[in-house]
């Protein structure tokens, strides 16, 4: 990722879309963190298998925050099974960048991992 693309993403970081808690979410995972300094909660509202709304809350870096924000945007209207099929390549595409550097992979994936965790924990009845 070059600096110009980074500064474009940092514009989205100032006021990211889909930030805020969804009350009565059907799926949620709170305070998820994998790399130092990122901590996100994620929420999904579903109707049948369809994702009606997706959101996140918390703080992270430009990469993690813009990635989870764009992921929410992408997921709305999709089938819930979309999430488990997604991987790093999909996040790189959402961010509009080529291969992300190895030190930022955790940042790029933290939102997706939180959503995957939300679904797993619902299925295993943690909530």
């Amino acid at each position: 990722m070059d600096e110009d693309r980074f500064y474009e993403l940092s514009e989205l970081y100032k006021n990211p879309k889909h930030k805020g808690k969804i009350e009565n979410a059907d799926y949620k995972y709170e305070d998820f963190s994998i790399s130092c300094g990122d901590r996100f909660s994620v929420y999904l509202k579903t109707e049948g298998k369809k994702i009606k709304d997706a959101s996140f809350d918390g703080n992270g870096c430009v990469i993690s925050t813009v990635a989870v924000s764009k992921l929410c945007d992408f997921l709305i209207g999709k089938d819930i099974s979309t999430i488990e099929k997604m991987d790093l390549k999909d996040i790189e595409n959402l961010l509009g960048i080529g291969k992300i550097s190895s030190s930022r992979i955790d940042c790029a994936l933290v939102g997706l991992k939180a959503f995957k965790r939300a679904i797993e924990s619902k299925n295993s009845n943690i909530y």
Partner: protein
């Protein structure tokens, strides 16, 4: 006369390009670069001296044993200890863990540690809570100094007071001598995490009068994987063994084991001889320059770094408020996470650390920040590098707000 430009010639990696720019290495609190003397010394060890030391009678083993013992003597002298008081371990983390596993704590005992600590001087003690050991956390004040009152009123049954000599985040140099005196008055033992102090200043264990002192070789120009635990002679008998196996015994019968004396008692198995030898060479190098010279130069450089950093609009500084502090600048640029700042500086060849620096309770609970960017200096850094670093920070803030 100390000449940083001359010093730089001893460090081959400093000539490297990163992303098309000259490397500016400002992550010295994480690990330092190595001089030729250490790099070539390790190769020399394997070309000329390598054998399993201590036990074998052959000549080569005697060479390896001599190299190992001489390294121990050099390191002992460096901190004014006796060679028998120097235990080789992997790093400061292992040193502190050794004490946490080997000191006989009893239910109801207290351990006193502080909010300034690196996780390595926190987690080994928090682990003891499940055995019924109380862990008291000493707080910091608004100038990032430890609250000395707490050391004057230690909990009853305090067995150990353990604290950092220099913080890897705020840079705070603590009043170790006074804390140790207060702890001893309360009949407690004392452990000093000196990972960030021994590389930068003259540390004298006899003057401090601490019972344990831990540091890592790789933060003081030595190789990775070698560290030191100093254990005061009078205290050594109180510790049980940490690991058992080869080299730490005199005689083994199934029903009767006679252990070796310290330091070997605490060094089970074949040790990192290459590492100890390399650390000895790093100590030689530091001595050849002089710790006083290093301290004086770093103080000047740090002052310049803060002066330039404070000229940058909007930068939040999270270090350097204490009476004394090391060559560390922790900061945030509002509107960016510290990882993003590190990412952007790296594009210009400037290597800094970001995140929690293994001190999450300090950064989150006390400094109320979601991570911090950190520039940390050493003897080979220069004013020109600081100029390039602060100019780049200015560019970043201009981009964000421009």
């Amino acid at each position: 006369m100390f000449d940083p430009y001359k010093v730089r010639e001893d460090f081959p990696i400093l000539g490297r390009k990163i992303n098309g720019h000259n490397l500016i290495y400002f992550d010295n609190a994480a690990t330092t670069q190595k001089p030729n003397k250490v790099i070539e010394g390790i190769s020399y060890f394997y070309r000329e001296l390598n054998a399993n030391p201590l036990r074998s009678v052959h000549s080569l083993a005697q060479n390896a044993t001599k190299a190992y013992n001489e390294a121990r003597e050099k390191i002992a002298k460096f901190i004014n200890a006796e060679p028998e008081e120097i235990i080789f371990v992997r790093n400061a983390t292992e040193a502190i863990n050794l004490v946490s596993f080997s000191l006989p704590f009893r239910k109801g005992d207290s351990v006193v540690t502080t909010y300034l600590e690196h996780h390595s001087n926190l987690l080994p003690w928090l682990r003891l809570k499940k055995n019924g050991i109380n862990v008291k956390m000493v707080d910091i004040d608004e100038n990032y100094e430890l609250k000395m009152d707490d050391f004057e009123h230690l909990p009853r049954n305090t067995k150990l007071v353990t604290f950092t000599h220099a913080s890897n985040v705020t840079g705070t140099i603590t009043n170790a001598k006074k804390i140790i005196k207060l702890a001893h008055e309360a009949r407690s033992l004392t452990l000093v995490d000196a990972a960030q102090s021994v590389p930068h200043m003259k540390v004298d264990v006899k003057e401090l009068d601490c019972d344990f002192l831990a540091f890592s070789g790789h933060k003081m120009l030595g190789p990775l994987g070698i560290g030191v635990l100093y254990i005061k002679k009078d205290v050594q008998r109180q510790l049980s063994t940490f690991m058992e196996g080869g080299e730490m015994i005199q005689s083994v019968e199934i029903n009767k084991i006679i252990y070796a004396e310290p330091p070997l008692l605490f060094e089970a198995g074949t040790q990192n001889i290459e590492g100890a030898y390399g650390l000895g060479l790093a100590v030689d190098y530091l001595n050849s320059i002089g710790m006083k010279n290093i301290e004086r130069y770093e103080e000047k450089l740090t002052k310049y770094l803060y002066q330039k950093a404070k000229e940058i609009n909007g930068i939040e500084i999270l270090s350097g408020k204490s009476k004394q502090f090391g060559p560390i600048l922790s900061f945030n640029i509002p509107g960016l996470h510290s990882h993003d700042v590190a990412f952007l500086l790296d594009k210009k060849g400037i290597e800094i650390r970001s995140g929690f620096h293994c001190a999450q309770p300090l950064i989150e609970d006390k400094l109320k920040a979601n991570g911090a960017a950190r520039a940390s200096l050493y003897l080979y850094n220069t004013k020109e590098e600081i100029d390039a670093f602060t100019a780049e920070l200015k560019e970043i803030t201009k981009h964000l707000h421009g």
